[in-house]
């Protein structure tokens, strides 16, 4: 059983919702990324979404754009990111790592080499923002052949027919993007999201994660009540951005504790 599956199964038994923080690998500096990952886990992360920096993050708002720029200023690319995952795995063999990024870094090495390298680094899932299912059939096959879960995004504009198409390609979980917009937007409508999540559940048994627009304990709690996983991205990156070397890990730990308490209370 894949790590992602195992985590969701365990949480389900406990009646809990997964908390998945997002950070951009290499932000604010590559030397902190692995310690940040361990800090996230120590303070309640059930899985980690690790952003692969990209020069043209079209689906991201200013906060994650800046994180990408900071990481790229230290020349952090896909190879370096996989190296970080490998290092993380030396002391954590349980927490699923999901890479999140854009198609071109994958295209640059090709789907086979990418999948081989991701497997060697012990990555569990991959989200590729600009690979809709119609365009990434062979990529999905390469991932699946290596037991890596292709995780897909569903959006408020995805109709039932496309949900069907997507859940048939996805494994691990599906990720419902709670709003029309880029990461970091703040107009999450929880009632609407609840309705959408419910109708997605009618079409699949895969766990449904919800992200985009979760910015504090209250929105995390409300989302946890309706989803199998809560993804927190821009808020996490803001905490990193607002820290200095000495309080980076403690600031991230404090935010995680707050979010974890909220998610567990749902």
């Amino acid at each position: 059983m894949s790590r992602i599956k195992t985590v969701f199964a365990t949480l389900k038994q406990q009646g809990k919702t997964a908390l998945i923080p997002y950070i951009t690998a290499g932000d604010p500096h590559p030397k902190f990324t692995v310690s940040l990952m361990h800090t996230l886990v120590e303070h309640g992360a059930d899985m980690i979404e690790l952003g692969v920096p990209f020069s043209d993050p079209m689906a991201d708002g200013p906060v994650i754009q800046r994180a990408s720029e900071r990481a790229l200023s230290h020349k952090v690319g896909l190879t370096a990111v996989l190296e970080m995952v490998r290092t993380f795995r030396q002391t954590d063999q349980l927490t699923p790592i999901i890479l999140m990024g854009y198609a071109n870094p994958i295209e640059a090495v090709g789907p086979v080499v990418f999948a081989d390298n991701a497997k060697a680094a012990d990555v569990d899932g991959v989200i590729t923002v600009d690979y809709p299912p119609e365009e990434c059939g062979s990529f999905v096959n390469e991932l699946r052949a290596r037991d890596i879960d292709p995780v897909f995004l569903l959006s408020p504009t995805t109709d039932a027919k496309r949900v069907e198409l997507i859940v048939n390609q996805a494994s691990g979980f599906v990720y419902y993007v709670s709003l029309k917009g880029v990461t970091g937007a703040v107009n999450l409508d929880i009632v609407e999201v609840a309705g959408r999540v419910a109708s997605i559940r009618e079409q699949t048994n895969l766990p449904v994660g919800v992200g985009f627009g979760i910015r504090d304990a209250a929105t995390a709690k409300a989302t946890a009540a309706i989803a199998d996983a809560v993804v927190v991205g821009s808020r996490m990156v803001l905490a990193i951005e607002g820290s200095n070397e000495s309080n980076l890990l403690s600031n991230v730990a404090n935010l995680m504790t707050e979010l974890k308490t909220a998610v567990d209370a749902a």
């Binding site: 043209d56 190879t79 295209e107 600009d130």
Partner: protein, 400 residues
């Protein structure tokens, strides 16, 4: 003979093109694809489009025999397809009218655009004013500086110009920002892309709207010289003016199609904007798969060209395809060569060309020298250079 029939139903030109976008945009693109299919051959839509091209743009644009230039260069006869005479001063308006008429039919009250040189932004602001649509134009802050006259024109036309500060602050970043706007406002907004790039159906649709250039050229060349030219030359940024003039010629044998990219400071310096000529790797950006200037990690690298409209790291997917099947040739000329051709056309023909266009002219001069006097080169004179006078003055250390 097998007739050219690209792209396929999903917008693929061989391995190029496609729809590589975030899930939120898939529905909007599908809606656009369906609407475009519906109106593409619709006589009423086409009549409305043709009416605007004639009465608002001033088409057909003439073809002009640049005799003095041809004599001076020595060799083939150079003919110019005068897109610079269009309303707003470039080929861009052909496309914005087509897309704006679609936006109207789709009931979208707001249009957005990206722009590099500002010509596409001006053309979008123009048609938005005429049709009463709200218009927001994204422009890299570097380009806002070097194309100041066009920024002011857009504002006069009632558009909001948003300077983009991210990344390299040029055309590709303007495109990123326009995509972000579109994802957020997809319910009421039509994104008017200015070149043959972006996700399907844009590369095909923009080509179709620009194909009027080649359709007219075929007829005009027959009238003027009784045959088709030996070579058709056009500059390539994203590649819309080139696709527009190439497309009707693809099935015409013995007409060489030559796209001219920006070699900037020289291909060997790495400071250029010539993904095809420099043999860049294939990748995915802005919704399609194509040749892309990138580093080993797949990050897009910064481009350089004296002309803002060619300063783009990718190229329309159909050009990638035409290169691979050897139907079109791609070459590059440097900033300096383009500047020399710019001055040459000003002085010998009384036409001030855009800096983008000057790249095509520079290569046409080189090619003409290798051909006979009775051979003919048709250059797409994609735009006029009024917008560039500040840049040219600055290069000559003159303050206006």
């Amino acid at each position: 003979m097998q007739l050219y029939d690209m792209p396929d139903a999903r917008g693929h030109f061989g391995q190029y093109g496609g729809t590589f976008v975030a899930e939120t945009l898939v529905e909007a693109l599908e809606e656009l694809r369906v609407m475009y299919e519906k109106y593409r051959y619709d006589p009423v839509f086409l009549a409305e489009y043709a009416y605007d091209l004639k009465h608002f743009v001033g088409r057909p644009s003439p073809i002009y025999h640049a005799k003095r230039l041809s004599d001076k260069v020595g060799g083939a006869q150079i003919y110019l397809k005068r897109e610079d005479l269009n309303h707003t001063g470039a080929h861009k308006i052909n496309n914005t009218i087509g897309q704006a008429l679609l936006a109207k039919r789709m009931g979208k009250p707001r249009v957005i655009a990206e722009t590099g040189a500002g010509q596409h932004g001006v053309a979008t602001a123009t048609i938005a004013a005429r049709l009463g649509l709200e218009c927001v134009v994204y422009m890299g802050s570097e380009d806002v500086k070097r194309q100041a006259p066009n920024v002011f024109r857009m504002k006069l036309l009632g558009a909001t110009v948003v300077p983009v500060e991210s990344g390299s602050k040029t055309l590709k970043d303007a495109l990123n920002e326009a995509m972000r706007d579109w994802v957020t406002n997809v319910h009421n907004t039509f994104y008017i892309i200015g070149t043959v790039a972006g996700p399907h159906p844009y590369p095909m649709m923009v080509r179709d709207f620009q194909a009027v250039i080649g359709v007219e050229s075929k007829q005009q060349m027959m009238e003027m010289i009784g045959r088709q030219p030996d070579a058709v030359v056009a500059c390539v940024g994203g590649g819309s003016n080139a696709m527009g003039i190439f497309y009707p010629y693809i099935d015409v044998p013995n007409v060489r199609l030559i796209g001219v990219e920006a070699a900037g400071l020289g291909l060997e310096t790495g400071k250029h904007a010539a993904p095809l000529t420099s043999n860049s790797a294939v990748g995915v950006l802005h919704g399609n798969r194509t040749y892309l200037m990138q580093d080993a990690d797949g990050n897009i690298i910064e481009t350089h060209s004296v002309s803002a409209g060619l300063d783009y790291p990718g190229v329309g997917p159909e050009h990638a395809w035409l290169k691979d099947i050897n139907r079109a040739e791609y070459v590059a000329v440097t900033d300096d060569e383009a500047m020399a051709a710019f001055h040459n056309l000003c002085r010998t023909e009384g036409i001030i060309p855009a800096l983008e266009t000057s790249h095509g002219l520079a290569y046409a001069e080189k090619l003409a020298k290798t051909l006979n006097k009775d051979q003919v080169i048709l250059v797409n004179l994609s735009g006029r250079g009024d917008k560039d006078i500040n840049t040219v003055a600055k290069l000559a250390n003159i303050s206006l």
